[in-house]
Symmetry: C2
């Protein structure tokens, strides 16, 4: 069995020993390399930053194993006729859950003014999580795990996916009506949809306006889920209280982008 | 049955209808008032801010019902011969869990520099919660609930109580050796001990020095658990990275107290 490493070539020094060891531990007799003739390759370990963009010469390949959870840079590739698998990583999921729960609690508890060190003695009593509606768009591997963790902390979690879905402790909505329904009640909104032609700009002027006044948008998903100009307008006119963004259309975020300077 | 409201007299207008309704809903035939003759009173609803400090005249009283979770202002009262109950409140517990988990995640994720709006493009990868040791001093009603919630988020939680205790998913330690053991490993330390003569200054120069360098102390418990001067010294010399304090020896915190100005 020949496995081609077609990820970032600078990372080969780190992947080679790790993959060799993992294959051995799994009892799989395979050779991993970066320069097999394409027609001899059985499996392709793939990242968009790697050297392969045309899958046609890999006539024997049984599968393409994407190193990333997001596969939007490969699913549209017309030369891909082999089965595609994507990464489901325990650490990635845990890290995402911790970040999302931390950011939701930051806004739920109203921590920012305290962290800015305003010198003020005031009793701040946020509502209990059970009285706080958190919307999660996307109930896949990551969105589902975040929704469950938030529900375990008693948040009133409403999750949305394109097709019907079931998560314990989460009010699951789907389709267009479901999306409207969720947005009209979500005080804190978490975006964990994949990037597809359908999800691009899912948060636009119209959908942002559906959120309750003072809502917070948290985007750990994909930059393209949000129409940047519509978001800035909603922050400027005070409809949204805050946007917490971990991803952008262009990364690193250009130095002259309005997001860098925006107080919210 | 006569119930005396001996809480904050300014709050009587809020307590009277709520208590009257709650007693009726519970099917208890009782009258609630603020000026019964002491020898006619069956139950006393008590807060330290109320008018009663001598329980001797309440010869018929079957119990004193404290409105607070902390009972340190009443347990030492020599005139108290009646049974004492304390408040166990679902909302109080939930609010505490949300605050503690939010503050732990804030420090775990390193959110402060991001919230201060330093304009910096940098990938920050905190360790996973499973690799972060959080110590919880006190495994009572509130400490136990916080320890369980943190364990549910995969933190490596070590809890301490005076006597042996058991919490699912939490490494439970007790006694002097257990305390030393816990402090030597806790990167984030949460203080939820009751205030008693034994717990006053439990965090002092010696015990603060046991914490790993760069540790964070979070105190939602009681101001008296910490020796203020020792804490300031540990922050100044860089041994501690941060202290997050929700309670103080004197409240409101005096305007000239060093805590107001300290960058950490």
């Amino acid at each position: 069995v020949k496995v081609l490493y077609a990820g970032d070539q600078k990372q080969w020094g780190r992947y080679e020993p790790a993959l060799t060891q993992a294959l051995a531990e799994a009892g799989i007799s395979a050779e991993i390399g970066i320069d097999w003739p394409p027609d001899e390759v059985d499996y392709i370990v793939f990242a968009p930053s790697g050297p392969v963009s045309n899958f046609t010469p890999f006539v024997k390949a049984k599968a393409v194993l994407s190193l990333w959870a997001g596969v939007e840079k490969i699913v549209g590739n017309q030369t891909l006729t082999q089965p595609l698998t994507r990464m489901v990583d325990q650490g990635l999921r845990e890290g995402m859950v911790e970040w999302v729960v931390g950011q939701v609690l930051r806004h739920h508890l109203g921590l920012d003014p305290l962290i800015w060190k305003e010198r003020l003695w005031e009793q701040i009593v946020p509502p209990l999580a059970r009285d706080r509606v958190v919307g999660v768009l996307g109930l896949g591997e990551l969105g589902g795990a975040c929704a469950r963790a938030l529900a375990a902390l008693n948040f009133d979690v409403r999750g949305w996916s394109r097709r019907p879905h079931d998560e314990p402790g989460v009010t699951c909505l789907y389709g267009c009506d479901g999306l409207t329904n969720l947005l009209q009640t979500a005080e804190i909104l978490v975006l964990l949809l994949p990037k597809t032609p359908d999800t691009e700009n899912v948060m636009n002027a119209e959908t942002l306006a559906m959120l309750p006044k003072g809502a917070v948008v948290i985007n750990p998903g994909r930059g393209a889920l949000i129409d940047d100009d519509a978001l800035l307008a909603a922050l400027d006119n005070g409809h949204l209280a805050h946007a917490t963004l971990d991803v952008f259309r262009t990364e690193p975020l250009p130095l002259d982008h309005a997001f860098w300077h925006h107080p919210r």
